[in-house]
Point group: C2
Chain length 455, copies 2
Amino acid sequence: MNEIPYKIYLTEEEMPNAWYNVRSAMKNKPAPLLNPGTHEPMKAEELAPVFCEELIKQELDNDTAFIPIPQEILDFYKMYRPSPLVRAYCLEKALDTPAHIYYKFEGNNTSGSHKLNSAIAQAYYAKMQGLKGVTTETGAGQWGTALSMACSYFGLDCKVYMVKVSYEQKPFRREVMRVYGADVTPSPSMTTKIGQKILAEHPGTTGSLGCAISEAVEVATSTPGYRYVLGSVLNQVLLHQSIIGLETEAALKKYDIVPDIIIGCAGGGSNLGGLISPFMRDKIEGKLDTRIIAVEPASCPSFTRGVYAYDFCDTGMVCPLAKMYTLGSDFIPSANHAGGLRYHGMSSILSQLYDDGLMEAVAVEQTSVFEAAEKFARVEGILPAPESSHAIKVAIDEAMKCKETGEAKNIVFGLTGTGYFDLVAYEKFHNGEMTDYIPTDDELAVFRAKLPVIG
Amino acid sequence: MNEIPYKIYLTEEEMPNAWYNVRSAMKNKPAPLLNPGTHEPMKAEELAPVFCEELIKQELDNDTAFIPIPQEILDFYKMYRPSPLVRAYCLEKALDTPAHIYYKFEGNNTSGSHKLNSAIAQAYYAKMQGLKGVTTETGAGQWGTALSMACSYFGLDCKVYMVKVSYEQKPFRREVMRVYGADVTPSPSMTTKIGQKILAEHPGTTGSLGCAISEAVEVATSTPGYRYVLGSVLNQVLLHQSIIGLETEAALKKYDIVPDIIIGCAGGGSNLGGLISPFMRDKIEGKLDTRIIAVEPASCPSFTRGVYAYDFCDTGMVCPLAKMYTLGSDFIPSANHAGGLRYHGMSSILSQLYDDGLMEAVAVEQTSVFEAAEKFARVEGILPAPESSHAIKVAIDEAMKCKETGEAKNIVFGLTGTGYFDLVAYEKFHNGEMTDYIPTDDELAVFRAKLPVIG
């Protein structure tokens, strides 16, 4: 018998009832959002036409450590949480490594990922404010699906602008959103001014996340009773996602496990930021010396090859400016299958932590990610999302280093979701048709030169 | 605070370590399989060319109550089990019913259904026998996926004959099987004599489950080191699936909940048979007067409109004869989306229990099933498989009766899986294009007339 079970579950009583705000522990706070016109820090009243009031408070609050989770959200969390912290006994055996590998699995809900943790919070606050509905964009579809589920639960309208290429290539994702009553529009569309402009200039475009954001924001700000919500990057989203880290912390403590390495994939940063929140606090306070590793695709290397600067969050430049590790808002990565990791920038919180040397980052190439994904699937049973598989790849690499050194390190990684809607990618991998494009230094320099000049 | 949590999980220590054989409690034992040539009961040695030895013992054992689960299978179960018994608080609220609704959710594994419970057991016994591989058929794909995962875990070859129409319409299911290294062939195929014969007679056929079974059996019996395995109908499969019922029983007992009604969808009967096993024992012994309801599609009504008779299990008539509620082995139901419920017959165990008046059965129409599925998805978060949604439909109907009478009955149903690979069906439902064909009495009589005449 193993002392540590295959899956560590918390009881309802052990589940966190407050989110943890990692900004409260940061010595260098994340840089504020700036007004794109004046370059002054955005005030709450300037954000109010776009975002829900309570969410703006959370966005701007760098000080409060614990923010209570409203009962209605706790009740919803209980439907699909706690997520298990899984001891990867089978993977350890297959790798023949002395390392102890754990993963926090967020895929056991119909949205298929961790995105639901923030979607339900944002939908709740929109409902409490008496709004009629919300707008958003979605790329790969996880966020749109999660928000559709959350809005359906609270009886809110949900308008999703889905990047056209995904809308066409992922009809099943679209259909799940329809199950939950969402209104899904391929972007760019003729329903917005910015969409009309982009279509006039680029009639054949298949869209981009930056463009879909611009459309969703335009609709939110021009439709009475609507606001815009975002599934990653923002401070508020990392706050909600801290539920992942808090549950992980509680599960590890039940068995006196101290993590040596924590690994997460990083697109906009919501999963990694949430997973590491309480551990980062302990690291800042000198109580823990855990290595924290962000994993990004080599095709979209914001951390490892970007610059730390103010940049636009969207193509239409209607959103506030954010200081972040960025490749430039015009940068379009190659057709990578990890749609959730194709954002040009990165959470301001994670950017500051990375700049402060509190975390590491590594970029990995797509085919090696799918090799790791398939190895994992065959022994651990779960078919992982391409995004999540970036973390698997590095977790396996670290476990193999332990095999060389003989160290029994505790490796914890975030398994953000399942790959049931990504089988076209797996098919390409099986057929040997998977490619990856790593941008050259010269190419990155072109986009870097277009960054806005601040102050 | 609710005293009963949203999800009741067992600890590893509370998990069952033996399967329960409901036949041991049955006063009238299920009828034996017959040799299709001699019409004599099949002996172990006659079954040995087709099935694994240990599984034959389990198939023929009507007496042993508890059969220990080997440690290797228990270890695998720990990766994805225990499955939660969920209290459907949100559904109860949406229905405004005094009933207490519980569902045992078997969808939280990559095969997406309960099928993995038996797949891992069958793969294990094949491995223990020193076999090289196994063959099987799959319709909708859940069983094929589950078996692929199980074979990958034990390093066995896995040859899946997939009904051609599903192979073409469900490329993603096929791709998941490839992730797990299975060899998937559309059936009928030119790789078998029976396939060649069928293709010669019906060049344009899109296949059927009965035909795929015949091909898989032919390959198993003609390839050294191979045996055939089946995902439903057989006694051994119901035995393995008793893990569902045993966990449900343990979870209910933790909170002193006595089920008034237990509901499950019934295709071949493996999920329902497993779910009810320990409760049926108590019912037979007079300790429990729970109503047990099998739900089947109106398009394939084996229980409600079939006859209890010996029949062929497959189109090619190569398998033993089984006594069961059947529509006739030539009966092909209309293109129902619940592929897992389109079998012409029914488990011999369940057939006997039904004939003994120990269970009820109800047939429901497809569109009403999808209405229930969508209602459930919107409040409980989980997108259910069309098969599972048959149970949801009847659970909701029973809960609404409680609303009329004011009774707080405990309703337990089996939620066998997720619908992530069934979104074409949901799309048809949304677009108002869903149809259902209920066979006429005259049509059923044609197939009934072709039943084999025994003794």
